[in-house]
Point group: C2
Chain length 152, copies 2
């Protein structure tokens, strides 16, 4: 399981780098570090998370560089941006396609559940409305098991 996940992250890392090259973009050390955070780092980092982690290796790193690279990778369709109502943003380079999330409101951890009922809901939305559905965003908010233990 762990091995699979690592392999998966590695292949996502390589895919993004390849796509960058294919589209004529240079692979700078800063860019590599950002892509690494999006795929290998702690799950679903924010721009600040990425910036803080990389700044240790690149003291001159600027937030603008992180922002610009995320815009670039988004334009390649290789990272999913999760904007929240409070204005915060989190990024997922491993599953850059729409999928449900479960978010802990205490520790901010984000989990990706497998929901068999998703297909059924999509069908229901299509039949209930006259919309052509192209995309979705499904978030559940609560308190994770760890935080329940820690703080009741």
């Amino acid at each position: 399981m762990k091995r699979f996940q690592l392999a998966d992250h590695q292949s996502r890392f390589e895919t993004i780098i390849r796509k960058l090259r294919e589209n004529g973009h240079k692979v700078t050390p800063q860019r590599l570090a950002i892509v690494r955070q999006l795929t290998h780092g702690e799950g679903h980092p924010s721009v600040e998370d990425i910036y803080d982690r990389i700044k240790k290796d690149f003291p001159t790193m600027s937030l603008a560089t992180v922002y610009r690279n995320i815009v670039l990778i988004k334009s390649l369709g290789e990272v999913l941006e999760l904007g929240f109502a409070d204005g915060s943003n989190r990024y997922d380079g491993n599953k850059p396609y729409p999928h449900p999330h479960v978010i802990c409101i205490r520790c901010k951890k984000i989990v990706d559940p497998d929901l068999d009922s998703l297909d059924e809901m999509k069908n229901e939305v299509a039949s209930e409305t006259d919309f052509k559905i192209l995309n979705h965003r499904l978030d559940f908010f609560g308190i994770c098991g760890n935080c329940m233990k820690t703080e009741g």
Copy 2:
């Protein structure tokens, strides 16, 4: 159907005004107009929408007043805030509790579908994760029937 909706909007309007009074807040003409937009106006207005519509009757109306009143009504739990990834916000004073939305990416219309599969999905999330789920946000994005006709 239409009658029911109108009655529903009216009762929502009255509920919010009553809650404001109950909590010691004054009912100013501007406040009334904002609550009216949240309940009787075109569905799911943005702050700008509310501001623009009210400015006709209150030329001195300021955006700050709209923002402050929305914060207040949110604190009473009487309006649902829908913040989107692009930073835009829309408000629903008629159904101030979490519910799924279907959003047209062209005309920005928002529809509230009735989804029988919602309960099933909630159960599945609970059993798939060790989270205690408190809240959710379910959005589907696509093109509405009207826009399909108009622009293909």
